[in-house]
Symmetry: C2
Subunit: 156 residues, 2 copies
């Protein structure tokens, strides 16, 4: 087998492997919109829990639960629910995503990466139980949420 043929054959095997391992698109458009609205609302709940703790009595266990939820969802590929055909539509309510989210892929990926990094930082400081550090990092997570919402979310 010539080298070029060998390389082509190897690439072909690679493509088949990639095809076997590709990420499943799950659900209908309505499911996908409801699921992403639910995931973001679960993030809101978790942010509200941490806010209550940094502004009031601090319960480490509750903060850890909420920070872990935010971190896990930051890495759960929620963006896979923004499939073509879901730029408009209704889940629990009409979607509030801006069309730019589907066209500015680089901007969307960058915004999500910032959020993921800040979420990792929040889970880390939550585990220490340092209320002041949690408050500071909570602010950074909030800023990353706002950064993305300003660009890609139609506010109520």
């Amino acid at each position: 087998m010539k080298l070029t043929k060998f390389i082509l054959a190897t690439c072909a095997i690679g493509l088949v492997t990639a095809s076997v391992a590709h990420s499943q698109t799950v659900g209908k458009a309505e499911d996908q919109i409801r699921w992403r609205q639910s995931a973001f609302t679960t993030l809101s709940w978790s942010m509200a829990r941490i806010k209550a703790n940094v502004n009031g009595e601090f319960n480490k266990e509750q903060v850890v639960q909420a920070a872990n939820t935010i971190q896990t969802l930051a890495h759960a590929n929620i963006s896979s629910l923004f499939v073509p055909g879901t730029a408009k539509g209704k889940g629990w309510k009409n979607t509030e995503v801006k069309p730019e989210f589907f066209t500015d892929k680089e901007g969307a990926a960058k915004a999500w990466a910032t959020f993921s990094t800040e979420a990792d930082g929040l889970a880390k400081v939550a585990a220490t139980g340092d209320a002041a550090a949690v408050k500071a990092q909570f602010g950074k997570v909030g800023q990353s949420c706002k950064g993305c919402h300003d660009k890609f979310h139609v506010e109520d």
Copy 2:
């Protein structure tokens, strides 16, 4: 200080500490119902993702994301959203919890503990990438969901 006085004083300190560290109740009744509906819908999304992978092409990364989401939410104290006054009411939709969930606290705690244990097992096997083991454990998680729904959830 007499021993009884010392014990009473120690208990008093313990009570104050417990008070400082108590878990915050966050949100109004409508928020709480919407948040818990969102958390359970995020669990449904994650279960749907794993189902698609064990019945079709298996993508380890997606299965790990979904299993970690289920495990984290299993330990996020969603039960704190079932506060008195939320047995009836509307979040995204009317709540579908049965009144028994609020009265049979032991049964509810037991059902959730079973789910948490099975969710831990699912995250563990997901990390190995063993599709057959994920399929088997996914069935056990599904059974634990069904066990709780049969007792405490008004099915559609």
